[in-house]
Point group: C2
Chain length 208, copies 2
Amino acid sequence: MRPQPPNFSTKERILGVAETLFARHGFAGASLRQVTAAANVNLAAVNYHFGSKESLIEEVFRRRLDELNRHRLAALAAIEANPSRTLDDVLDAFIRPALEQSMDSTGGTAFVRVLARAYAEHDERLRKFLSDNYGHVLREFAGAFSRLLPRLSKDELYWRLDIVAGALTYAMADFGMIKRKNDVSEQSHREQSAQHLVRFAAAGLRAE
Amino acid sequence: MRPQPPNFSTKERILGVAETLFARHGFAGASLRQVTAAANVNLAAVNYHFGSKESLIEEVFRRRLDELNRHRLAALAAIEANPSRTLDDVLDAFIRPALEQSMDSTGGTAFVRVLARAYAEHDERLRKFLSDNYGHVLREFAGAFSRLLPRLSKDELYWRLDIVAGALTYAMADFGMIKRKNDVSEQSHREQSAQHLVRFAAAGLRAE
DNA sequence: CTATGATTCAAACGATCGTTTGATTCATGA
DNA sequence: TCATGAATCAAACGATCGTTTGAATCATAG
């Protein structure tokens, strides 16, 4: 974790470094002293700009999830307009934006791993924050899935979605560590990854 | 986390409580003071019986993984004897022992969540410990998978196995939170869960 | 240039962390 | 019964945690 050059503002540098350190050591494991040292800012800067470590964590999520879920909802809306849509299409609308973000140049790689952390943590406050701010997205997708899987009970659907989301989150977190071969363009690598995940998840949802 | 009655030895009480608290708050998030208080033992007991927090964590894994991987290897050996074995059989040999342990009476529920934590953590020492002590199990299974998926390159196989293992771990960690319906026996619930997971994982491995 | 609010800084706060110490209690074989 | 090692205990160690403080510095509008 090399000290971050001052090309960005203090807030932005803190957010970027916090993201990678939370991904690496967890929310409890990464201290504000590590974060501020790596970001080349004063220790007090976190509490000055964000108020608390808890709020910094939330801000790390907000920065990525706002954009990510906007893309997801847009993709879902585009799909819903098509009357011949399939389960794979809806899954693709959920997965592809995350995959694109995790492979962009601004270092979204670490964030997918932060998301995987959040899944492993059963922290009450964090789950409430995510549910309060982004629950409507999952509810939209649950509705779309429900319409395509009418034989599934609501209970059955919800825990399958929960499992599928967790499995996908973990899988995507690990994708960042897989080196794509040199003879495969980044775009086609992403394409293949998305197809694998969609097929994987669709099989789980359609099971039985 | 109610104080543990003294039916068990000090070491056993510490291990049991540590397991559930590590599952709930993570390895960094659960302190030895929380653990020893809930286990009704003196704070110094951890360092006396285990040497350090690090060693306690390893012991929490060892207690469950020794038995779990023994069952896995036994199941795999039984499968390998059958010349008409399928991918689903090998996956079943990997998944079912974990599912059985996570549903037994001694509270293995929490441990599956501890395993999910370990997957999310990319901690160097912890990964080395698991690789050193249980890597041979994964290597055995990788061999079995490789023989059933001869068209997959070694690289391709290994990262698919990694992803499948992670996804399964996540899924199983969440299974503990899903209430089975009253009209479904625990055994048939486990049966269905195993089938879902096997189908889910097989689709991912066979993809393309 | 100067005044004012925003930002950064070194330093310290009390709390909690994992670990260690030395005395005390317990269990057990001689 | 008594001695000896194992086990438990209260207390404290230094380190590190998140947070707060008040002064120093910066940027900017009047």
